[in-house]
Amino acid sequence: MAQRSSGPKYLVPVVLGKALRTLGRLRGGGSAFPGWAVLRLAPDFLQDATAQFAHGIVFVLGSNGKSTTTHMLSEVLRAHGVSVFTNPSGANLPQGIASSLLAEVNLFGRVNADIAVLEVDEAYALELAAILRPTTVLALNTQVDQLYRFYETERVADMMLDTLAVAQTHIVSNRDDPYLSKIDTRFAEKAAVDRPDISYFGVSEQVIAASAHGLVNAHDYRDEAVQTAPRFALAEVTATSKTGATVLVDGELVEVVLPSKGLHYAIDAAAAMAAARVILAERFDTSAAARAFAAMKPAYGRGELLQFGAEQVEFVMFKNAASLQLNLDAITDVPEQVMLAIDEGTPDISWIYDVDFSAIDHVDVITGAKAWQIALCLAHQGIPIGRVEPDLKIAIEFMRGLEKPSTGLKTWIVNYEQMMLARKLIGFGEMENQR
């Protein structure tokens, strides 16, 4: 590929974009608007600014775990001395990615990094791939997610499979995902030299069998009859513990400390290490990877512990039935105090009835605009409810008033919007570039 020269054509858009970004931050909070403005002024900006990474561009896709895995992969690469550009958690649409690039580019539209690791929204992934030509595409899972937006799960699966298929060099996919594992069938007719290499990550049968609800990946009703040969996992979760997991990476056992509890975090770690292994090839070092995990902070709201007076709040964030179920399954000690908060950021909450709440024995307060709907579901499941209070502010004060639990820990199970609001209400601001 010819080296593109960025040149002074980006001077005006970049200066303007950076100015908009500064203004936006002074006003408080990040915004995708500067990115949108720059893309309008210089449509090639994204393509040119990202065509220069020595190790190329990695796309991270998936129904759940994009932010966590992007974070993990970035940190593992950094532990190998690779400089990484990445987009902040959730800024995964084209204008959001352009906005985060603006923070890093010089006036000629150049970024000083060896590799870009980008979490990308499934619906924009193929379109973005045409512009950015990712060298590596990592797809995590297909889980029933935001049906009001994606309509049907197999449509999301196809978005991810189509994007995997256009990876320039490496495909990294989930061996245990009924849809994503079938990426190899797309290349069945092609000689190995004519296609990107395909690697998998996965979970051992014993670990899956020990999980209360398995992996919660979507069932593939379309191609369930397709029989394939067993697939080898370059990185496989072979055991999980309260604080971490054991992952077998290319024949070597790696003990990793996880930022939060749950099999899904262990799988994200295996995915990140499989990707790091194919990107770094022989340079991949299991001890560097383990060091990266040991030093990692939890991503925003994913098992994060925040100070709350003399106590601590553990945030458990969910987006859909799969992430909520996997988080509930990760609970080993029944939490003493629980707040559950869901608002209209989750428009259709029907799926709450598909979640098994038996991991918790009660909820102290249910809050958020959808509080009564959630209470109705929990009452039907026989879970005792202390109080229903749609106003988050009042609910938080109610939680504050409860006697200090023996663990000193209060568990708040929240959707993204309520997590952001709750953080603010207890004195923690936004952290735009938290990676």
Partner: protein, 248 residues
């Protein structure tokens, strides 16, 4: 205590959006009315029970509809016999479409239905998403709609009700009735949110069995908590639905 059999069709394939909630609510209302319900989950290649007292089916993606289609057609005659004998069906979304006359898919292919509901469904490119409020003969029914389907009813068929907020079938009405059976595109799921609608099915079950439900039996139940939560949830939904509606 009369034992009644609730048959749920294809809980895996046609149960992707909280349809389990409809089963939970129906079972709770049957119990509250003095019945002892047992749930028979019918899966592909399984056997339907000899008899059924109420049949329930939910929604699922096109691939799931195609997947169970053969099994459904193999059991269509039994289901029609049940319906003709007055067994109430409760059907949501694509499950209801498959129990209707036909479904026209996005690629133009037509799937013939079982023929229990006088309903023709056509899948359309535009999707309808949001809270929905419907006025029915059993009162106000609220929930969440999320579909890309337009429903046309047979000449003499009655809808569930008229739409006061949201989209419904696309012509001011929502759902379809057939005897004691109810078909709808109101999710949420709809039965927990609308205990009166679940009770309508319970009354249907009792009528067919010749059992007279006394009001005392219906009241002497432990559904006060869910009734209260449902009522509060309904108020919030109505507030939001009309709010959004008035802005359009």
């Amino acid at each position: 205590m009369t034992v009644v059999t609730v048959v749920q069709l294809y809980p895996g394939e046609l149960g992707v959006a909280g349809d389990r909630g409809n089963v939970l609510a129906l079972v709770a209302r049957l119990r509250a009315a003095g019945f002892t319900p047992t749930v028979h989950e019918h899966r592909r290649d399984g056997l339907l029970p000899e008899t059924a007292d109420v049949v329930i089916v939910g929604g699922g993606p096109l691939s799931a509809m195609r997947n169970i289609y053969g099994d459904l057609m193999a059991n269509a005659a039994t289901l029609r016999v049940w319906a003709a004998s007055g067994v109430p069906f409760f059907a949501y979304g694509s499950g209801c479409e498959l129990l209707g006359t036909s479904v026209t898919l996005p690629d133009g292919n037509v799937l013939d239905g079982v023929g229990i509901f006088p309903l023709t469904a056509v899948r359309v490119p535009e999707r309808t998403v949001g809270y929905v409020v419907v006025e029915s003969t059993t009162g106000r029914v609220v929930g969440f709609e999320d579909n890309a389907s337009r429903w046309t009813l047979g000449a003499d068929a009655l809808p569930l009700g008229s739409v006061s907020a949201g989209h419904g079938n696309g012509n001011g009405f929502e759902g379809v009735l057939a005897g004691r059976s109810i078909g709808t595109q109101i999710g949420g799921p709809v039965l927990p949110l609308n205990p009166a609608l679940a009770d309508r099915l319970v009354v249907g079950v009792a009528e067919r069995l010749g059992i007279e439900l006394t009001p005392r039996e219906a009241a002497a139940s432990n559904t006060t908590l869910t009734d209260d939560y449902a009522q509060r949830a309904r108020e919030v939904i109505v507030g939001k639905a009309t709010h959004v509606f008035s802005r359009i």
